[in-house]
């Protein structure tokens, strides 16, 4: 199954990190990506630019409503994602737990819908 691991972290805290720590964090991310890619489990992923440069778009009554900022103001922001291939939820959870930001942020694990199977609960 394919799972999208949404990485939420505090942009404020990330901004406060000293360069050496940031470098360590990126190195750790890089190693995990390489390891997963080597096993064919990493399908894609990227860090995102901060929410200060986010734009939100809605179409209402045929009209575009474009606003500055993220969809929701929250304490932690969506900062990146991994798209992974895992046998089951347990494996996806095990990968999510190894994402460095899991230690101070939050990883949301979402299976990808296949063939329009996603109905509203």
């Amino acid at each position: 199954m394919e799972y999208l691991l949404l990485i939420y972290h505090s942009e404020a805290n990330l901004g406060k990190m000293v360069p050496a720590d940031t470098a360590d964090l990126y190195r750790e991310y890089g190693l995990l990506r390489e390891e997963l890619a080597g096993k064919g489990k990493f399908l894609g992923g990227s860090q995102l630019m901060p929410t200060t440069v986010a734009t939100t778009v809605r179409v209402r009554d045929g009209k575009r409503v474009v606003t500055d900022g993220p969809f929701a103001e929250t304490k932690e922001q969506l900062g990146g994602y991994f798209l992974v291939n895992a046998n089951d939820l347990d494996e996806a959870i095990a990968i999510a737990a190894r994402i460095p930001s899991a230690r101070n942020g939050t990883i949301e694990v979402r299976p990808l819908a296949v063939r329009g199977q996603a109905k509203q609960a």
Binding site: M1, Y3, A86, N87, D88, L89, D90, A92, I93, A94, V109, P111, Q117, A118, A121
Partner: protein
């Protein structure tokens, strides 16, 4: 053939095997129902098969293959064809007892997966592992039937769609996941043991099911001391079931219970389990609570209770996690072990805490200590305060009785 009994006793195990074979909760349940329907029709005339369980599994399995084949005629889903091939390739006939046990264990871990909401884990375990009907579960938990049904549908949907696996966790995950399973078993037991209202029969059944699950876990995971401690705890608590409530349905306090009604064999088994768990290094909340229960259960009379040790165990429990119930129980143990005044001082301290303002056991415990000290007026006030907070009918009746006794004693006319 008693179909009712067969259904009750075997459904959980058969369902576990079928879910394993079919990889689908709903399909397994539906096919099992169909297999039962065939059995009800055929067995009375053809005779009951030598192994009813194997017969039901095999029949349900064939029904599932037919069903999947029929569906394919309309929608040739490659995935389902693969599934049919897989099921068709499974060995026919009897499977060994231990295979059933493995199926059950896998099913327990799936139903208790932390990715499911806690209340759904409890409901799903009762429904699929224990074979209790949705209606009975809804009655036991005082939840409308439609709500309970929806809860189960959602949980099964998540298992399927989020890819929650049907297997025993890997050794490195087992410890953590087992804690989650034990919690579900403990909640099922407590619902039966402490529930304030609802059907008494179903509640007793919940306790029995929780104990049965505890036995399955201990049998299959022999090195897990915490599972042993939990089973011991449940057996010890449950051993008092006939003494806790009087013939009139009134609550009887531990101190006043007829100890002759306690189930001695269960106490012995529970005590042995606790000892063994402690030897294996169990030091968690279940082990501590079970040790307390063992001390109560093995006291010949209320006076023989080893209160100093119980107070020390509550201390240890409190260091592990704070809970108003534990705090109140500890204060009572201190009162019994050392002096009423010391226990009362601890309760007074708790009363000053904002978060315990609504907690009825606190004034109830104070009332009891004050009564023992002969401070009747204050005791009556505390009973009234407890009454204003308690919601459970049995407890309210008990508090009212105690209050009436006090008023009788202090009324000069009587």
């Amino acid at each position: 053939m008693d179909f009712e009994k067969l259904h009750r006793e075997e459904s959980g195990r058969i369902l576990a095997t079928l879910i394993g074979l079919l990889g689908d909760f709903d399909l397994a349940e539906e096919m099992l129902q169909e297999a039962y329907a065939v059995a009800v029709q055929k067995w009375p005339s053809d005779g009951t098969p030598a192994n009813p369980r194997a017969w039901l599994i095999s029949t349900a399995r064939h029904k599932a293959i037919d069903r999947l084949r029929r569906d394919q005629r309309f929608e040739r889903k490659s995935e389902e064809i693969a599934k049919t091939a897989e099921i068709a390739a499974q060995p026919e006939g009897d499977r060994e007892e231990e295979m059933f046990a493995d199926d059950r264990l896998r099913l327990i871990f799936t139903c208790c997966h932390p990715a499911l909401p806690l209340e759904a884990r409890v409901a799903l375990t009762l429904r699929t592992v224990c074979g209790i009907t949705t209606e009975e579960i809804s009655r036991a938990f005082l939840v409308p039937l439609a709500t309970m049904a929806q809860r189960l549908v959602r949980a099964k949907g998540k298992i399927r769609e989020a890819g929650i696996p049907y297997r025993v966790p890997l050794p490195e995950e087992l410890r953590e996941r087992l804690d989650g399973v034990l919690l579900v078993v403990y909640l099922i037991f407590n619902e039966g043991y402490l529930a304030s209202s609802g059907d008494a029969l179903i509640r007793r059944e919940l306790c029995a099911e929780a104990i049965r699950l505890g036995r399955v876990l201990c049998g299959l995971l022999q090195k897990q001391a915490e599972a042993q401690a939990l089973l011991g705890l449940m057996l010890l608590q449950d051993s008092r079931r006939d003494a806790r409530v009087s013939a009139q349905g009134e609550l009887v306090l531990l101190e006043e219970q007829d100890r002759g009604l306690w189930h001695g064999e269960q106490i012995q088994e529970g005590t042995e389990l606790v000892k063994s768990a402690l030897r294996r290094g169990a030091a968690g909340a279940y082990a501590l609570q079970a040790s307390i229960a063992a001390l109560h259960a093995n006291a010949k009379t209320a006076k023989d209770t080893d209160w100093p040790q119980i107070a020390a165990l509550y201390d240890a429990l409190l260091r592990m996690r704070t809970s108003p119930v534990i705090e109140v129980n500890r204060a009572v143990a201190v009162a019994m072990a050392r002096s009423m005044e010391e226990g009362l001082a601890l309760l007074d301290e708790l009363e000053r805490r904002e978060e315990l303002k609504e907690f009825h056991l606190l004034p109830a415990a104070r009332a009891d200590l004050l009564r023992r000290l002969g401070r009747k007026g204050e005791a009556a006030d505390a009973y009234r305060q407890a009454l204003s907070l308690a919601t459970n009918d049995i407890e309210r009746r008990f508090l009212r009785r105690r209050l009436a006794d006090l008023e009788k004693l202090s009324d000069p006319r009587s």
